[in-house]
Symmetry: C2
Amino acid sequence: MATQTQKKVTSKMNVRFGEHLHALRKAKELSLREMAELCSLDNSNISKIEHGKFDIQLSTIVELAKGLGVHPRELLDYDFE
Amino acid sequence: MATQTQKKVTSKMNVRFGEHLHALRKAKELSLREMAELCSLDNSNISKIEHGKFDIQLSTIVELAKGLGVHPRELLDYDFE
């Protein structure tokens, strides 16, 4: 069971990932709807991920990468500190 | 609900990730026990991940990176095709 501190660390991490995802999508000039059409995620879930609501799974990272047309490692290419 | 094909794709992806994780750990000359001591995962879970048993979450990817002393993007730096 995750402790309170672990939950806080995870949610900060999810928000940071969401910010990076949002920046990548904007750089590609894709709307949520356009990105959703390029992968198997719907636009409301992509929006929730951008707002740090989920501790997403590897399979979702791979789908997000497909939607953006980038290699999955790009989704983790930011400062984690 | 994931379809049968999505489940097959996810499990192949998890096995591939596990192989990459195993190679990274070997390159660092770390045993499962030594790696477990450097992060908040236990050695049996790391072993299961290496055998593709889980569709792991972002927080686990970050812990694995801590255990290996690498940036999280390294965990996804392999050929996904």
